[in-house]
């Protein structure tokens, strides 16, 4: 990736021969990026080194001991039976979230791309949960999903007795996914809408003259042309799904059982509720590895499934 452009002039205008424009530009470049670079070193890279270092230690906060134990935390990771449930919940949550989010976002974008009067109002309303405070949104959904809450109240007026959504394993998982999707699907919807509007209209006209049905047009023209956006949104959404914490903490506290305990929530519990900082660090390394592998894998897939013009 070429970062800098060719814009330094070879001949310096300055009176001092040392401070050529190229040298002054180098200095300016370093000064401009210094705050960000130092920030990344102090708040990202050093902590990443530390989290790996901590993960090799047993750390008892109450007794104030910090002992090197090598790979012991990693062996604990392999033998931790709860962790299997946690990874399972994380996988179901992330997969469910990404599939539901991307398909709904695409459906809404296709609807909003129609030439209809007042379409901008619909766009605004579909987008509005994005700007509603996350915890406020989660609290009102928690309220709606109570046993005697609004959703079951509506169902009961039609004679249907609803489940106790947040207290049963399957419905609890569905609930946290759905709450999260409606909160943020507007972002992906807007990105898809921009991509759809970039598809040349002539292509559809040509396809219509050839008699291609609407579904085929969508599959053969729309999907390939917006595939870069699909890839980008799926990376953002997957990485984002691995960071979901507030919704779980407010709605289910990881329950019932471990059914909605995703990795971030488990990490938080181990480190900050049970004060196992060493093991919490090992879980952080695991989270980092998952994020890195998923991002890398999707980036590789780009070559096979993403269509680029040119």
């Amino acid at each position: 990736m070429a970062v800098a452009r060719e814009n330094a002039h070879p001949e310096g205008r300055s009176s001092s021969p040392f401070w050529t424009i190229a040298r002054r530009d180098s200095l300016a470049g370093f000064l401009f990026i210094a705050p960000q670079l130092i920030g990344i070193i102090v708040f990202v890279l050093i902590p990443l080194g530390l989290v790996f270092w901590y993960s090799l230690h047993e750390w008892n906060v109450l007794a104030n001991t910090f002992t090197y134990t090598g790979a012991q935390n990693y062996r604990m990771l392999m033998e931790d039976e709860s962790l299997l449930d946690v990874l399972g919940a994380t996988a179901i949550f992330s997969a469910g979230l990404v599939i539901f989010n991307l398909s709904l976002a695409l459906l809404l974008a296709v609807l909003l791309n129609q030439k209809l009067a007042g379409i901008a109002i619909f766009r605004t309303l579909f987008f509005s949960p994005v700007v509603v405070s996350l915890v406020a949104w989660t609290i009102v959904w928690g309220f709606l999903l109570q046993k005697n809450g609004g959703i079951n109240g509506m169902l009961l007026t039609f004679g249907i007795e609803g489940p106790n959504w947040l207290r049963e394993e399957t419905t609890a998982m569905i609930s946290v996914i759905v709450v999260q999707v409606f909160k943020n699907v507007g972002l992906n919807m807007i990105l898809f809408l921009a991509a759809l509007q970039g598809v040349p209209k002539e292509l559809y006209e040509a396809a219509r003259i050839d008699g291609a049905p609407a579904f085929k047009q969508f599959r053969r023209i729309t999907l390939p042309l917006i595939s870069p956006t699909i890839l980008l949104t799926s990376i953002i959404t997957i990485v984002g799904s691995l960071q979901v914490f507030a919704q779980i903490a407010v709605l289910t506290q990881g329950g019932p059982g471990l059914s909605t305990t995703v990795l971030v929530y488990y990490l938080y519990q181990q480190a900050f509720q049970f004060h196992f900082f060493g093991y919490g660090s090992t879980l952080s390394i695991l989270l980092f590895a998952i994020v890195a592998i998923l991002t890398f894998a999707q980036w590789q897939m780009r070559k096979r499934i993403v269509f680029y013009e040119s």
Binding site: M1, V3, A4, R5, N7, H9, R24, S26, L27, A28, G29, F32, I33, P35, Q36, I40, F43, V44, I46, P47, L48, L50, V51, Q114, K115, L116, F122, L125, S128, V131, V132, S133, L134, V135, A136, I139, W141, F143, G150, G153, L156, I190, L191, K201, Y204, P228, L231, V239, A246, V264, L267, Y268, A271, F277, G280, S281, S284, L287, F288, T295
Partner: protein, 280 residues
Amino acid sequence: MRADISPRAKVVLYGVMCVLLIPFVFPTWWMVTSSMKPISDIFAFPPQLVPQSYDWTTYSKVFELQPFVRQYWNSAYIAAVVTVGTMIISSMAGYAFARIRFPYANAIFMIVLLGLLIPSEVTIVPLFQMFLKAGMVNTHWPLILVPIFGAPSVFATFVMRQFFVTLPAELEEAARVDGLGRFKIFTRIALPLAKPALASVAIFTFLHSWNLFLEPIVFLSSAEMFTLPQALTQYTDAYGGPMWNIQLAAATLTALPVLIVFIIAQKQFVEGLAHTGLKG
């Protein structure tokens, strides 16, 4: 997509969209209306879509049970400082990566992009220890410094870089001929042109800070230091169960101002986010 839609198709489309809107719009309506109902009515059956009687004492309890004004101020000023700070840091870095030739620029850009791979959740344990050693636990510094300088700002830098790359080189060359230095070219020529990109950086940075939840509950321990998301969850009764009407009133007070600003400025909001060089 197609120019001509039959009237019948239009009715179907409007119908589908109205049904799809329910889960997007109804929760906000339910939050606002339920917060006005007396406690006896909020779980009433059949559900009252419009309140049948009003109880405004709930709203005064929001302020009695917690230092809510203080907490509101905490969230607002932290979000403001983080937003302005991120705009400065990321526009400078984004500009340099896009337009200035300096040694190791590519390598440094790759290092900065690592921040996208390492969300703050991964480093929360060492960050807590670092701020503990610095005596900054139960202060707002972690909520200000980490977003401005750490991983969350990397995305902003990326967006700014993608924007500055598209500026024509002639603009800067003309400024050079006029004798402007780098810093002046940046502040007088590049930045004014970058308003749309800066606006979208401002929007998502503000929302990110406003919604932070894990960081406040890890770093803050006293009620007068809390931010809004954390405070909302603290309206609980003696058994730890939520006091629904008070939570909903506090949630309404938290959500409505931002929602109103959004509805007024929604064009800039939505279009700004769509045109951030994010189109892949």
